[in-house]
Symmetry: C2
Subunit: 256 residues, 2 copies
């Protein structure tokens, strides 16, 4: 009998996040699941790894086809430690999330959720990150679970090309208001900072990061931001080869 | 009289790193320089940002056309804080490094040095990261400075397309042994982990990250790894749009 697929799960909101529980509910239907997630929130950790400090893993629980560990490191640390020290065979799939908050447009690059998915992809594992456009710790993942299930099934069926993973974002709407799923490109834009400058009780200044997203192409129809604004789930295929091949042609004219 | 170009400088090895000093020596020749660098080493921080904790900046020094600040945050925090709170006009260029150690192939994605460059690129600033293939804190940056100067001059002259920055890696060789500069693509590969598992004095296990790079295409001639192995400086143009446009065509066949 063929072994059940082994599915590695991580996230960046930490092992206790509601979004992680939602993702586990979806994927335990399809195989043996090992969760290795940060012990606390690691949002905005991108592809960071722990070099200066060692990391520790903690066994959380095991029941039926679900084993959970936490790690005091980044999402990418979780994936690396899982692959090297926890799993006894190469996972067939890696899923990350469901993130509390959007990872559309350039947020994919700041995202710890997508950091984990990209790390899976580096290791030749078909990988996807899932995010809901709601930051709230108590966000409702009902619709997200339905779409995660559909997309994960298609990913199992079709596989993914080597070097490509998926960045899936789900609008913050009840299921019946979401009108479809669309593959698209990431919108061009920037997070414009507005640091909140304060003074501590000892008279020293400090800064809180705040800001807003500035979409450079608000009228484009084929971006993740546009698809989400049209109340659809957005899937962006993400390449881990970030060479700019167009520029590679024109730089040949430089005087080097 | 036209104002001198404003050049923002950062790195991930920290404000006291020798590689940063080398980069400052090169670019102060070309304009007014503001350095905003992490107060301590932030290697492997990728595109991470500080969300949970506030950050602080520290004035370090000012002389002639060079002002230096340190920030207790990541390289990307440094760039964000610089743009929002430190500079009085948009920098004309951003340079990051010179990193102590290679950022070729997929290391570009773990790299805090390249995180800073990519953040500059998001903000429409022509940006480049420079790295020397030597991790040593006392590495010799003589040759790196020569090539950084050549490449920075070309970047000033030609500009860079919106959404593209440069990842420059320099072989660890004396100047006369380096045979040229070549634009190339990033090699496909993976860092294979070999965690070093230890036990602390209290009987608890912990893990140090170690590993080695596995080049998936050792025979390709057009990758950064191949160019460096041929004793040349490698320039990879990096796109901040990481959509996989090939996959975007084939995913249309999925049953979504």
């Amino acid at each position: 009998m063929k072994k059940k697929p082994l599915i590695l799960v991580s996230n960046d909101d930490g092992v206790n996040a509601l979004g992680l529980k939602a993702l586990i509910e979806v994927v335990t239907e399809f195989g043996e699941v090992i969760v290795v997630a940060p012990e606390k929130g690691e949002s905005g950790m991108s592809h960071a790894i722990s070099i200066v400090n060692p990391i520790r893993k903690k066994f959380v629980s095991k029941e039926d086809n679900l084993t959970i560990y936490s790690v005091n490191g980044t999402p990418v640390d979780c994936v690396k430690l899982a692959l090297n020290q926890i799993v006894d065979r190469k996972p067939d799939f890696l899923v990350s999330g469901i993130n509390h908050g959007s990872n559309a447009s350039i947020s994919v690059i700041y995202s710890g959720t997508m950091g984990a998915a990209i790390e899976g992809c580096f290791n030749g594992i078909p990988s996807a990150g899932f995010s809901l456009l709601n930051h709230d710790a108590n966000a409702d993942f009902t619709a997200s679970k339905v779409f995660t299930r559909i997309i994960f099934k298609e990913m199992m069926q079709n596989g993914l090309p080597q070097g490509t993973c998926l960045n899936v974002n789900v609008p913050d709407l009840p299921l019946e208001k979401i009108t479809g799923i669309e593959a698209c490109r990431m919108a061009k834009g920037v997070w414009k900072e507005e640091y909140d400058k304060r003074t501590d009780p000892h008279g020293r200044e400090y800064y809180w990061l705040t800001g807003h997203f500035n979409n450079f192409e608000p009228n484009a129809k084929d971006t993740d931001e546009a698809v989400l604004a049209a109340n659809k789930v957005a899937i962006v295929p993400v390449s881990v080869d970030i060479t700019d091949y167009e520029m590679l042609k024109s730089i040949k004219n430089w005087n080097l």
